[in-house]
Symmetry: C2
Subunit: 458 residues, 2 copies
Amino acid sequence: MAAKNLDTFFYPQTVAVIGASGRNGSVGFTIFQNMKRARIKKLFAVNPKHGKVQGITSYESIMLVPRRVDLAVIALPSSKVPQALEECMRARAKAAIIVSAGFSETGEKKATAKIEELLRKNMGTLVMGPNCVGVLNTANNLDTTFFERDRMSAPKKGTLAFISQSGALGSMILDWSGTQRFGISKFASYGNAMGIDEADLIEYLGRDDETKVITAYIEGVKEGRKFCRVAREISRKKPIVVLKGGRYESTTRATASHTGSLAGSAKVYDAVFRDAGIIQADDLTDLFAVAKLLEQQPLPKGKRVQIITNGGGFGIIAADQVVGEGLKLAKPAASTARKLGKIMPRATISNPMDLLGDADARKYEAAINAALKDRNNDIILVLCLFNLPTLDAGKLALALKRARKRSGKPIVAIAIGSEYTERRMNQIEKSGVSTFNYPGVAAKAISKMAQYAQTRKK
Amino acid sequence: MAAKNLDTFFYPQTVAVIGASGRNGSVGFTIFQNMKRARIKKLFAVNPKHGKVQGITSYESIMLVPRRVDLAVIALPSSKVPQALEECMRARAKAAIIVSAGFSETGEKKATAKIEELLRKNMGTLVMGPNCVGVLNTANNLDTTFFERDRMSAPKKGTLAFISQSGALGSMILDWSGTQRFGISKFASYGNAMGIDEADLIEYLGRDDETKVITAYIEGVKEGRKFCRVAREISRKKPIVVLKGGRYESTTRATASHTGSLAGSAKVYDAVFRDAGIIQADDLTDLFAVAKLLEQQPLPKGKRVQIITNGGGFGIIAADQVVGEGLKLAKPAASTARKLGKIMPRATISNPMDLLGDADARKYEAAINAALKDRNNDIILVLCLFNLPTLDAGKLALALKRARKRSGKPIVAIAIGSEYTERRMNQIEKSGVSTFNYPGVAAKAISKMAQYAQTRKK
């Protein structure tokens, strides 16, 4: 079966919001308001009650809209959705997002059956939802979600795609991502997946040049065989990281009432994901930490980590996390110890490599370069206490930029602190090195990256 | 042996900084500058080279200082420390903090032996360090650390005490704590522990009315028997949470070159900590998450958690973390389901209890009250998507405040987002409920709290 071209969801030129509203606070109001910011050619309001919606002419039905619609967003009570969808199909709309909830997830049968019937007729309209918040594209500011901008921040532009079966969870993550050092290319929430499902989205994003890594929150896979085929194909060229919701018998039950998913046992999913080359995340932080690493760093050749630090205790905590996550502490080569011993006689050239509290960017650069040349390690983990007066973050960022260009080893930097340190970490992140705050989060992500690298080799 | 009274470290009236400096950027400069902010009676500078230091008269030796000194802070090169310490003892200073590094942790023997000899003579001066950053007390703004205030934020006042063998790590944590929703009562870094050790500090903080929970970063315990005796006694009335640095064979070696600790095997420590009633943390986040919970919430009677949410996917993720951490998902009583089913016919009264996206504070309050009365659970976990327009954080905070007063069950709230959500979580935190951002962090902390509650019962 040919892949569905989902461009019409992410790059529509003409969009109609069915249920667009002038009543502040309503879903139809917020969607229409958010959509006004999108860089598209034409936005139409469809609402039988109003002559104008938010200053824009409103039509009684999509069939009266004077142009063919690329994307219709349906925000109506569930009982009215089937008719609206049928009209979208008759008007030859290329795609429709059904935001409305109240279908299979609540046990509702009539409206669900009608939508199923319309989809079986396959009148050429691609359908996403129902029970979802739709799509967001940072490239053209398209945003069909119904969250007010003053309640949530827009995600930064980046190259991580994120798909979420749950719309509210997806939106919450988009909001949170604004505070993190990674950006989003495209987002889609596909809800009950009556039309477009997670496999269609993964297939599409696998071919999307603006996406380097695909992240997903999935409660239940719609069609097992299709999912496996697609995931296996895409994961060969682009990493897919999945957080599975409902990982235990006692928690899978909840997914049925949430997105109508009939989730199989966690063990079955584990096997399917492994077989398909998917990286499984343990929680939300983990999902984006490993995705960020895979997006930014080259794959490591092995799992030996060299830690470089200006704080002994911090180094030991990181070393504990590295070992705890199944990675190995590298043993620096004798030549590395000799070379660095001459420059920093008091430093401990071991692992952690403790450059001591008075280390400056020059000493860091010497240590990083020596470690990059050392064949005894595969991954460099640089810890920084920016509170210490001798370490200049700007100079360190330049050193890390040179190191990043010179070497094929992944380089990760960690620092924790308040505003002062966070500003410095933003500088460091720009060097092309991946930055994290917590050693535990970083070590787990590095471990999963190393496992993925081994799988890819096979 | 009687407990050492460490009040003179935390509440000194007269302080002398030996090595106080006028040279901006030096350790002696920053310590003296930070100490000028402390609410003490008199601050003296000791420095043979200057007539005045930062505008304050400087003395050649502590022996020339016209008053008896409660606390001397020694910030000199290691070779000059023994003489300075001897002078402190002769001047009958009550306590001395040796900030200087370069002792047993670097293999230096001469200065170390001289300090040992002075300590054996026991001339009545209590000694902390060497190789530490000293103490901080949020009650009187006392701060002997050598970090510039524009590089690190001051911790908030609170009731968690924190002791850290590593000074730099301790300072980094103090800095970070300013961004978190918990506060610090007292901090001490004791470095090589030649005089005051972790057991002395735990004993002192165990009797400190301003401290509710003791947290510690420990690389190696100085005297095993003394530590066990003290920890066993204190942990009976006040929780002690410890992060052990060097938890594996490959990482314990690093502690020797850091604080000169001869760390025993991780298994021995695990047994000692368990026997002493100490809660062991797995990483930095965990250390303060569990301490914060123990500080703020009553101990749970069991480990059955009831989740209440307005976002289905968020509820499922939290449920996965709860089960993953060894806690149990409570099963709501039939009466709870009946009661709430009348108020919210569309909501899923199960676990997670999904109040749906249009839930307001009134529905939350009904659900929370029903859950608090329900005998089938021990802990209430409230998840909030504040991005959804119907949930008013102010009203929810009031409802949670009433709930907190009414019930003896721990109540925890979780939300993730950006600024909008963080501001709301600050409101919620004031209600007396404990707030977290990540379900994984919260679930792990709840699990450790439940384990501790069981241990305490015995």
